[in-house]
């Protein structure tokens, strides 16, 4: 019992020591943790028909061999944007019926309520996406197509 208490005390001390190394710095996440964050967000989203979630959404290593770590939220925003891409694809597909296109567009514009738009997207970058969404709502899908081609590589 004493040994258990001693170990617990040691672990708590170590945790406290680690915390005080630089408490002003918030944590970063490993690729594995970022993938878990991605999966948790993905579980709340339904992709467009024909789409599936990627098996490895976050690389653990950079091309130079160094590890990658990520700011918390990276995985969440990545899942949101993948979901947005899936519904953008549905809107842009010429085989999509008018009714299905309208339904797909309803999903696309919901990106404005997701973590991606609300938190991850830089404020100075929001007018661009606003323009893409507003054009789409007016029936002009050219900006959405351009956005998809630039940022939705699968």
């Amino acid at each position: 019992m004493k040994r258990t208490i001693a170990i617990a005390f040691a672990l708590l001390s170590l945790a406290a020591c680690t915390e005080t190394r630089n408490p002003s710095l918030p944590p970063a996440l490993t690729a594995e943790q970022t993938t878990a964050e991605y999966r948790a967000e993905a579980a709340t989203l339904q992709l467009a028909p024909g789409w599936s979630w990627p098996s490895q959404p976050v690389p653990a290593k950079a091309p130079d061999g160094n590890d990658n770590v990520y700011e918390p939220g990276f995985g969440k925003q990545a899942a949101d944007y993948y979901w947005y891409c899936s519904w953008s694809s549905r809107v842009l597909d010429p085989a999509t019926s008018d009714a299905d296109r309208k339904s797909a567009l309803d999903n696309v514009v919901q990106i404005k309520g997701k973590y991606y738009y609300l938190t991850a997207l830089a404020d100075d970058s929001k007018p661009y996406l606003d323009g893409v969404l507003n054009s789409s709502l007016l029936g002009d899908y050219a900006p959405l197509k351009n956005d998809f081609e630039l940022n939705c590589g699968r």
């Binding site: 680690t18 918030p26 944590p27 590890d67 996406l129 323009g131």
Partner: protein, 137 residues
């Protein structure tokens, strides 16, 4: 840009509404950036990738300069949605303030990218990991 540290490792070293027939094109401009690199005290000093998504305004160059560079030097790159790198990695030495370096001269209007950076030096023992500067995109 909020930049961070490394809690999972013991050694932290640490509307405008515009509607056009084509893609909405806004003018490129300067944006303040700041961040914290990791020390290589644990592992090789990983790349830290920000969760802030940034969108290129107008087709053209993306570049940066710094008024404060972390003493261990700064390596900086731009990543896309598919983890592809745009252009080249640029490096700033600790005294290289006020020097613009270009990552890419031809990023398309509307391209989303993420800033990613690390301490250039592989030495362990620096006690300042912060940088502050300006990014043009």
């Amino acid at each position: 840009m909020r930049i961070l540290g490394k809690a999972q490792f013991i050694a932290l070293a640490a509307a405008a509404v515009v509607v056009f027939a084509g893609a909405p094109a806004l003018a490129a401009s300067n944006h303040a950036i700041s961040g914290t690199v990791y020390s290589p005290c644990s592992g090789n000093g990983p790349w830290f990738t920000s969760s802030n998504a940034r969108t290129k305004a107008g087709t053209g160059a993306v570049k940066a300069e710094f008024v404060d560079v972390n003493p261990g030097g700064l390596s900086f790159r731009l990543l896309g949605r598919s983890n592809q790198q745009f252009g080249v990695t640029q490096q700033w030495g600790p005294n290289e303030t006020g020097i613009w370096r270009t990552f890419t001269s031809s990023m398309n209007n509307g391209t989303t990218f993420f800033n990613s950076f690390r301490q250039t030096s592989t030495s362990c023992g620096y006690h300042d990991y912060n940088f502050t500067g300006t990014e043009f995109y």
